[in-house]
Amino acid sequence: MSMVTYIVRRLLWLLFVVFGVMTLVFFISRVIPADPVAAMLGGHAPADLVEEMRAKWGLDKPVIEQYLAYVWQLLHGDFGVSMASGRHVLQDLVEYFPATLELATVGALISVVGGIVLGVVSAVRRGKLADHVARVAALTGISMPVFWLALLMMLLFYFILGWLPGGGRLPYYMDPPTRITGMILIDSLIARRLDMFTIALKHFVMPALTLSFFGVAAISRVTRASMLDVLGEDYVRTARSKGLVENRVVLRHALKNAMLPVVTIAGIVYGRLLEGGVIVETIFAWPGLGRYATNAFLALDFPAVVGSTMVIALFYSLMNLVVDILYAFLDPRVRYD
């Protein structure tokens, strides 16, 4: 099978998954005991009132009929109207998603770089102090609740040390560059505002670092294990016996071959960063999808809930797809079937 067919097949599969996610969330919101109206009106609503509200939101029809109506809407590119804001959900998603994507990307970059460095050091110095420190650091990173970490970081770097801005994407008095992509780093570059770019970058440090704690930990663990595996292989031993300097062996031969599992975990981490974003965005006043989704969940704003979860699932699945394709490029042994 050719690469193209493979990608097409995977894309179709991806569509199916996103569709499945939509279906899943749709039915969770309609079938499980707390239907939106009861949730909206509280547990002791008089029957006639519940009926009236049900009719208003089209909830008096059979679930299947509602579902089909929603699917029909979706096929026309209509995500419905948010019950809370009265705006089109799609409009909101377009407004909020770029900020989240940008933050997750910076977080993923930090995770990959930090994770690989930490993992390599740990593998090369296996059993030594550096290894133990790195492993404990990794475990700490995985165990830290994101919301607690975010608060501690803010206290230390913003309030006590004053090194980093405490929230938002730019100083609060500063006008953002013209919105083109919705991503502040890119938009400020397009506007040729290098000063703004630097300032914005500084605003990324704390939220992105908070987010990447988990990623650094996960990637370093995999890198370490994978490096240890590779370092034990024959060709590395051969390279070493040829008298190559240790650093070169590590970098040129081992690291390259150890990258396969790292790519996989990096993809997963990228997706998981969206999850952390939900919390980090609230604390660092980041105008992203995470906060939008959180508020939608809290307000049981179901059109917004379904819309934002679909976007997140789409992104998550796309990441998996990219990982698989990268994998195929990196490892010629992988067949597309």
Partner: protein
């Protein structure tokens, strides 16, 4: 390999892996301490965790309130101790529910195969194409925020991992001699499933469970933090951090201690899991 021999060998391997790894022993210690705290909370807690005293709020740690008081004058230490019960309760209930449901579905899939199998596996794919916390948030929001619903919501995100694992164990077992033998002797499908396949899939599942525990507690605490989990005034750690964050940095003790408790608990499970993981990963075992 008989059933008994298989289980004991896993148990022995686990113990060996833990024993040989000082970090895992630390993890085990933390978890035992947590369990003990949960059991003894009513006997050792100095105060009623719900008793308010707003006129003596945000008190610094003293001998009467060793970890200070919170924003309405409740004893932070007592709430922390009772909170251990809630965390343990959530973790155990999630483990039991998602473990049971996931295993049953997985074993069934592996054993029956065919259309049922592929359908159920596609469903797990859908569940897994979701960041766990987001999915749990969706469930928690739909069910309405409460402690019980946290358990249900987290279980619904967890069962897929167990289903996958149980399915692969069951698949591996399907062709094995003793299962074939049982079939040849005329045992019913149900009997084969219950007596021959299911028990053998349990050991790896228990190992998997120890790996998932940390994540379960983290997710539950995050739901509490977002207001989608346990409701105030329940002394759930995530909820306590949420309320206490407003009093940082002046009254740091209100949110720092519950935050530390979550961290240590999750760390404990992860340290333990790190040792146990080696059993699952034959590559690492080789070394």
């Amino acid at each position: 390999m008989t059933r008994r021999a298989h289980s004991t060998s896993v148990a022995r391997d686990t113990w060996r892996a833990v024993k040989g790894n000082p970090l895992s022993l630390v993890g085990l210690g933390i978890i035992l301490a947590l369990a003990l705290t949960a059991i003894l909370a009513p006997y050792v807690a100095p105060h009623d965790p719900y008793e308010t005293n707003p006129l003596a709020k945000l008190g610094r740690p003293t001998s009467i309130h060793p970890l200070g008081t919170d924003q309405i004058g409740r004893d932070v230490l007592s709430r922390l101790l009772y909170g251990a019960r809630i965390s343990i309760r959530i973790a155990v209930q999630v483990a039991v529910i998602s473990g049971t449901v996931g295993t049953l579905i997985g074993v069934l899939c592996g054993f029956i195969g065919g259309k049922v199998d592929s359908l159920l596996m596609r469903i797990t794919d859908i569940f897994m194409s979701f960041p766990q916390l987001i999915l749990a948030m969706a469930f928690a929001a739909a069910l309405g925020p409460s402690l019980q619903n946290v358990v249900l919501a987290v279980s619904m995100t967890e069962w897929t991992y167990f289903a996958r694992l149980a399915r692969s164990s069951a698949l591996a077992l399907r062709g094995q001699a003793h299962v074939d033998a049982a079939r040849a002797m005329g045992a019913s499908k149900t009997r084969i499933l219950l007596c021959h396949v299911l028990p053998l899939t349990l050991s790896p599942l228990i190992v998997q469970l120890s790996l998932e525990m940390g994540g379960i507690i983290r997710t539950a605490a995050s739901l509490g933090f977002l207001g989608l989990g346990a409701q105030p005034p329940t002394p759930e750690w995530g909820v306590m951090v949420t309320a206490g964050r407003n009093y940082l940095p002046a009254s740091w003790w209100v949110s720092t201690f519950p935050g530390l408790a979550i961290f240590l608990t999750v760390l404990g499970f992860n340290l333990l899991g790190d040792g146990v993981r080696d059993i699952l990963d034959p590559r690492l075992r080789r070394k």
